[in-house]
């Protein structure tokens, strides 16, 4: 089959050799540690086969943290390379690979798993459900995301990383100009993860439409659930486009078709169109749930109900519709002409309207509120001005004529980092500090959290603010080096130092997770923030069936009013009934491994072998079709015992918020 074994393992670069050794040692370390602790069975029964939405969510978040680390290292490498003129750390090829994987990893394997992870943990709780609509499908979604992430990540030690940018524009990404297999990894790994994401979207649409607690009409649904709902709809509407685009890319690269090639009648700009037809909605897929998290956090810590709830809902629906109508603004310079560019300029600027409505709603929620400056709230507060800078530079970029000047410069890079880091990463941190007790039964340390916050926010501004000015001065993106005469040196150095501070901030977050897991107080209330929504009506960590009795909802901020009116929270033992729960299944895990193997073989263009492996996927589907396991019932006595355990603990808890 013409396997080029010499190209199988990447050799010759000390950085990559170091990574290969580190990966090998880590893997051996994990196997030895799990064996030493005799945890294999625990790992299989409690995690690998779980269908519990909370555990799946935690695994998503774990993937997010790991990928943040990986993508962050890529970012630091870029910053180290460009810190001084004529940097020598990376060569051009390696730099291309690093900025490509940085983009893909951060968007698809960091932001998405973080947000979908938090959606998984919180949405069923917020709407008063016991799980998602299709628990086993949910597990499959996670494992496919995991499988795609792993396949993408091995590219830099086996076979070579993709190097055509995270947008993989043709003709550069085609076989003609990128003959290696790096871009096959791009096409196949993202495909696998994308299928998982599509299924998550469908799963959450049905969950939110069909599984809300009695009385919770759509307009009484917490804002995070609303944003998750709209995000799921955008996922279902846009991910199939990515599926097709990547499939066509795979055909072009592996089977010699002519969709995007220069020869044979192909059209390279069609890739760009298809990519951004998915890619722009993707921006809102990641940013909408983040908006929802900020809404919850700001409302809780301002001790007020969310201002302008209906206009919030209206704006997220408006953003969702507009998100589908702006994709051409990513390539005004394509030459579609002033007519087309004007239309897309206008639709793009229109997005600022609903976003502005949301901004004012958050500000008015805080107005006259008794604001508590917890770590979660600090992230939300920092988000407002930082995101504003990102948004306003976005309106600048939206002007088609002016965009010819900004296009492909660091100004653009600064803009989207100012949108995505405050909009997504700050939100994820806010959400994690806020919901951590629900996931693990202890809080993250607030002191370490504030250190994390200040270092991260200062580092972030220091990294990306200079890039606006560098871009306006003509520094292009994706250039691995620049001369001293260009005068970019000082600002580039400031930016690099900022990246270091940002990284130290993230290190504090990781340390905080470790410290809190070891030392944080377990004797805390199940509602430590005095919060407003139903997830806080459960134990911390949440009992596996979520609610002993599904609460009845009469208003927005249901839990808050239950506490105020002291109504609807307590129930007598004879109201309890057996709870039906889904059984664990190893099939999603196994299926995703088969997907991964098949994808790996396809990446190396071993077509027959890939086809044989793909038969394994069909076999897994057939097994699933014949699987009639209907779950099990939790007996009333067990529920009583669990409920008695946590509800009686409430009296002697320590307060950690003031």
């Amino acid at each position: 089959m013409g396997i080029k074994w010499d190209r199988f393992f990447i050799t010759g670069d000390p950085l990559i050799l170091g990574s290969q050794i580190a990966i090998l040692l880590t893997m051996i370390g994990i196997v030895v540690l799990v064996s030493y602790l005799k945890k294999w069975k625990w790992l299989w029964t409690e995690w690998l086969t779980t269908v519990d939405h909370k555990r799946i969510g935690i695994m998503y978040i774990l993937v997010g943290v790991l990928m943040f680390f990986r993508g962050g290292i890529d970012g630091l490498l870029m910053k180290a390379q460009t810190a001084t003129p004529d940097g020598q750390l990376l060569d051009a090829q390696h730099y291309n690979e690093v900025f490509t994987t940085h983009g893909v990893v951060m968007i698809l394997f960091m932001a998405m798993p973080f947000l979908i992870g938090i959606m998984n943990v919180i949405v069923p709780l917020q709407i008063g459900a016991r799980d998602v609509a299709f628990p086993q499908l949910n597990a499959l979604s996670f494992w496919l995301t995991f499988s795609g992430a792993m396949l993408f990540n091995i590219s830099f030690v086996i076979g070579g990383s993709p190097d055509a940018g995270w947008t993989a524009y043709f003709p550069l990404a085609g076989k003609e100009f990128s003959p290696g297999i790096g871009n096959n990894f791009y096409a196949v790994a993202i495909q696998i993860a994308g299928i998982g994401t599509l299924m998550t979207g469908i799963n959450f649409i049905v969950t939110i439409l069909k599984m809300r607690a009695k009385g919770m009409t759509l307009m009484k649904m917490p804002m995070f659930s609303w944003t998750s709902f709209v995000t799921s709809i955008i996922i279902a509407a846009s991910f199939p486009i990515l599926t097709v685009a990547l499939a066509l890319m795979t055909f072009d690269r592996i089977f010699g078709t002519h969709f995007f090639t220069l020869s044979g009648g192909g059209m390279d700009m069609m890739w760009v169109n298809l990519f951004w037809l998915w890619g722009h909605p993707e921006v809102y897929i990641v940013v909408l749930p983040a908006f929802g998290m900020f809404s919850e956090v700001i409302s809780t810590f301002s001790r007020k109900t969310l201002f302008g709830y209906k206009s919030m809902v209206g704006s997220i629906v408006g953003i969702a519709i507009l998100s589908m109508l702006v994709w051409v603004h990513h390539f005004f310079t394509m030459g579609a002409g002033p007519g087309v560019n004007s239309i897309f300029s206008i639709t793009t600027m229109m997005i600022a309207i609903p976003t502005g409505v949301k901004m004012f709603n958050w500000l008015f929620t805080m107005r006259k509120g008794r604001i508590q400056f917890t770590t979660a709230m600090l992230w939300a507060l920092a988000f407002v001005p930082c995101f504003l800078i990102g948004g306003i530079t976005g309106v600048m970029l939206a002007m088609g004529a002016a965009d010819y000047q900004y296009h492909n410069t660091l100004f653009l890079v600064a803009h989207f980092h100012y949108v995505l880091i405050p909009g997504v990463v700050f939100a994820v941190f806010a959400g994690l500090y806020y919901w951590w007790p629900k996931m693990f039964g202890h809080m993250l340390n607030e002191k370490l959290g504030k250190l994390h916050f200040w270092l991260f926010v200062i580092g972030f501004n220091m990294t990306f603010m200079p890039m606006f000015f560098l871009g306006l001065n003509g520094a292009v993106r994706r250039a691995y080096t620049y001369s001293a005469e260009s005068g970019f040196g000082p600002l580039m150095l400031v930016s690099a130092i900022g990246a270091g501070i940002l990284a130290i901030g993230f290190a504090f977050f990781c340390y905080n997770i470790y410290w809190s897991a070891r030392y944080a107080d377990r004797n805390i209330s199940s509602d430590p923030w005095d919060a407003r929504t139903l997830e806080w009506a459960t134990a911390s960590p949440v009992q596996f069936y979520n609610f002993a009795k599904i609460p009845e909802v009469t208003s927005l901020d249901a839990f808050w009013y239950m506490k105020k009116k002291n109504k609807g929270l307590k129930f007598s033992n004879d109201e309890l009934e057996e709870i039906h729960m889904p059984s664990n299944s190893g099939l999603p895990f196994i299926m995703s491994i088969v997907f991964g193997i098949s994808g790996f073989l396809l990446v190396f263009e071993w077509k027959i072998a890939a086809l044989v492996a793909a038969l394994g996927i069909l076999i897994c589907l057939a097994i699933r079709s014949f699987d009639y396991n209907d779950g099990y019932h939790v007996p009333v006595d067990e529920i009583k015992e669990i409920e008695y355990g946590w509800q009686n603990k409430e009296k002697g808890v320590e307060k950690h918020v003031n």
Partner: protein
């Protein structure tokens, strides 16, 4: 559904069976599965719409290769169309028989449906082989790349549907008509009709438009 049944459902939705509804809608899990499948079909519409858009952009880019006029054979395509449209009709009868709780009728019409589907797939494969022999492969031109991928995706869907429906038939034979098997059959029916609709678009926008 009266208020009392509804109240009971809130308490225990996965095991409650409401026999006043058609078999496939009787449990809450079934209703969720069917709604989920509609959402999946929505995603499928986007997927095929993207492929149609690709085809329409590339459909005149022959790169010196064959054009639709030289290639398409309307007779074979008409037979394929009739086979698939008829199969959609027989699929409808199968679901009708299912609602009458007539297991034998359901199985008979379902098998007829699949045989028609097999006939369609067989003819499509032979059409493709014929094209390839004429030197019209998916590597020839952008037009043919998009033609083969659009039709291939549809054909693959039909083939998967045949395999999937076969498994459901085995389950009906083993377990009889239960809410679960009825739901699976109903969902297959939705899928089958959807593929039929896609074919109507292919027939119109690929074949007829290509021959005009």
């Amino acid at each position: 559904m009266d208020g009392k049944t509804k109240k009971k459902e809130w308490k225990n939705m996965s095991t409650n069976v409401n026999t006043s509804l058609p078999l496939e809608f009787q449990t809450e899990q079934n209703r969720m599965n069917i709604l989920g499948f509609w959402m999946f079909l929505g995603a499928e519409i986007v997927l095929f719409a993207t492929l149609f858009a690709t085809y329409s952009v590339l459909s005149t880019r022959y790169a010196g290769g064959p054009t639709p006029h030289e290639l398409y054979d309307i007779k074979g395509v008409m037979i394929e169309t009739i086979l698939l449209l008829t199969s959609s009709f027989t699929c409808g009868i199968a679901i009708y028989e299912m609602h009458r709780h007539n297991k034998k009728g359901l199985l008979t019409w379902l098998i007829i449906t699949l045989l028609l589907g097999l006939g369609f797939v067989g003819m499509e494969i032979s059409e493709f082989i014929h094209y390839v022999h004429e030197g019209a492969t998916m590597q020839t031109s952008a037009f043919l790349s998009s033609f083969f991928v659009l039709l291939g995706t549809h054909g693959l869907h039909v083939s998967m549907g045949i395999g999937w429906a076969t498994m459901v038939i085995i389950q009906i034979l083993k377990r009889g008509l239960t809410p679960v098997t009825a739901r699976k059959t109903f969902i297959i029916g939705l899928y089958w009709h959807f593929l039929d609709v896609v074919w109507i678009f292919i027939f119109t926008f690929v074949y007829l438009k290509g021959l005009v």
